[in-house]
């Protein structure tokens, strides 16, 4: 501790370390520092990697006061060599004290400490050996100032001690190795976090800067995807909506066809086939009309038939209109007509949809029958028509 290592000692150590002769090492060290001092004088700035920066600083003229006489005088401007150690080296040198951080002091603490210091200071100030020598030279003001400074320094020291005691059982001068390592761990974590944060920031910055370049293409891609999704959604809803609607009209379509419409339709059909005995039994509400119609001419017979068929057709037309709008997209295209399956005589009240339902199990396939039979207007079908039902094969 506190030894002054001179050139030869330094050279000796370097010779051991670097494996060169002592003379060469001495020469080397001498040259090393010669170059530094020479360059500082010539260029005003030397940076030595791993050591630090030597710099020539120009000090301006300044006024000062002679402490003893109170006279004012000017200190001439001169040049000064400053040295700033490398950040790495600085950190390594300060390693024993690296565990300490700057701490904020609260007001109460400061006051308390000031009180304590005032008491201890009186005792402390006496045995100090430097002060009595200087004191006679100084004026009263000067003395007070010095005292104040001493007080402050003492205060600071006390505070530091207290802080350290409070924090843990730290040794005042040099913290234990354990504490250092612990603090180092937290420091490392902190550094890591800061590094992470900074990288994220840098990436953000880069994105921000490059946005005019990247942004447009990204926006384009996003827009395309959106459009795609939209069209898909539309087609999906179209496909989904078709079968959903089919189910709904089935009931209102079938029930009126088979129940209320078909029944009155049946009765005239029965009358046509000359079975008057059954009709009063089946339909007690209508016998009054039918007996009257039976003896009448054929013209009269067709009238109820027409009137009966009308509601059925009307309902069917609605049904078919709906079906028409539904099957347009997919259903027709999927099958091809391949030959004759069977023939079907159209009954009263039956429509092409009913026939399609009967043979294919799906109402939606009636247009194939219509096409196969060259029916241009499926609403105007007469009962008794013989329909040829085609064989359908899925394409």
């Amino acid at each position: 501790m506190d030894n002054k290592i001179n050139l030869s000692q330094l050279a000796e150590r370097l010779a051991q370390e670097g494996g060169m002769s002592k003379a060469a090492a001495e020469q080397f060290v001498k040259n090393f520092f010669d170059i530094i001092s020479q360059r500082v004088l010539e260029e005003g700035l030397v940076k030595v990697k791993g050591l630090g920066t030597f710099k020539l600083i120009q000090m301006e003229d300044r006024e000062s006061v002679n402490v003893n006489t109170g006279e004012r005088f000017t200190i001439d401007g001169h040049q000064k060599i400053s040295f700033v150690p490398d950040a790495d080296l600085k950190e390594r040198i300060n390693k024993p004290f690296a565990a300490f951080d700057t701490v904020q002091i609260s007001e109460d603490q400061a006051k308390e400490l000031a009180k304590m210091d005032a008491e201890t200071e009186q005792a402390d100030s006496a045995p100090e050996d430097k002060k009595p020598v200087e004191e006679p030279k100084k004026s009263a003001k000067e003395k007070r100032l010095a005292q104040k400074q001493a007080k402050k320094a003492e205060e600071a020291r006390k505070r530091a001690q207290k802080q350290q005691e409070k924090d843990s059982e730290k040794v005042v001068d040099t913290p234990t190795v354990k504490e250092i390592t612990q603090k180092k761990g937290t420091r490392f974590l902190l550094k890591f976090l800061i590094g992470l944060l900074s990288t994220v920031l840098v990436i953000g910055l880069i994105l921000f800067v490059m946005w005019p370049v990247i942004g447009n293409s990204v926006l384009d891609i996003v827009e395309k995807n959106l459009n795609k999704a939209k069209t898909e959604m539309v087609t999906d809803s179209l496909q989904n909506a078709a079968p959903a609607e089919v189910i709904l009209p089935e009931k209102p379509a079938e029930t009126p066809v088979e129940a209320p419409v078909a029944k009155p339709a049946e009765t005239p059909a029965e009358t046509q086939s000359a079975k008057p005995a059954e009709s009063p039994a089946v339909k007690p509400a209508q016998p009054s009309q039918q007996p009257a119609a039976q003896p009448a001419a054929k013209t009269k017979q067709t009238q109820p038939q027409a009137s009966v068929k009308y509601p059925a057709v009307k309902l069917n037309s609605q049904d078919e209109a709906k079906d028409l709008s539904e099957f347009t997209a997919a259903d027709v295209v999927n099958f091809s007509i391949e030959g004759l399956l069977t023939t079907h005589t159209l009954q009263k009240g039956e429509t092409l949809t009913v026939v399609a339902l009967k043979y294919y199990g799906s109402k939606k396939l009636w247009p194939y029958i219509a096409k196969y039979n060259n029916i241009s207007d499926p609403e105007k079908l007469q009962p008794g028509i013989v329909l040829r039902v085609p064989v359908l094969r899925a394409k």
């Binding site: 150590r13 791993g50 060599i81």
Partner: protein
């Protein structure tokens, strides 16, 4: 803006690097050793000096000055605008004091 910053940074880097290279070249010329050898020896020298400083000793060279580690005591600093008192911890700082010979040369 970031580009100009980067340019500055790169300039600085290259500048210091050049400076260091020049320094090593000069040193190798003077000692009549290879430049790479000089670089290795400089590293060794710095390592030796660091050990000396860590032992609490000082490096003193006639004609150059003293490189010494000094302990700066802890102190209370007050932020003049907010009045917040901060306890600045003690530190060890490497200091350089030029020799009187060098100081003479400055005048």
């Amino acid at each position: 803006m970031p580009l100009t910053c980067m340019q500055k940074w790169i300039n600085q880097l290259t500048y210091t690097d050049m400076n260091n290279k020049q320094f090593l070249n000069e040193l190798s010329d003077k000692c009549q050793i290879g430049a790479d050898q000089a670089a290795v020896q400089v590293e060794n020298l710095l390592g030796v000096m660091e050990k000396i400083w860590q032992d609490g000793d000082s490096v003193s060279l006639s004609g150059f000055g003293v490189l010494e580690v000094k302990k700066k005591n802890e102190r209370v600093s007050v932020n003049p605008t907010t009045g917040v008192r901060m306890l600045v911890p003690p530190k060890l700082v490497l200091t350089y004091k030029p020799s009187s010979l060098l100081k003479e040369k400055l005048k």
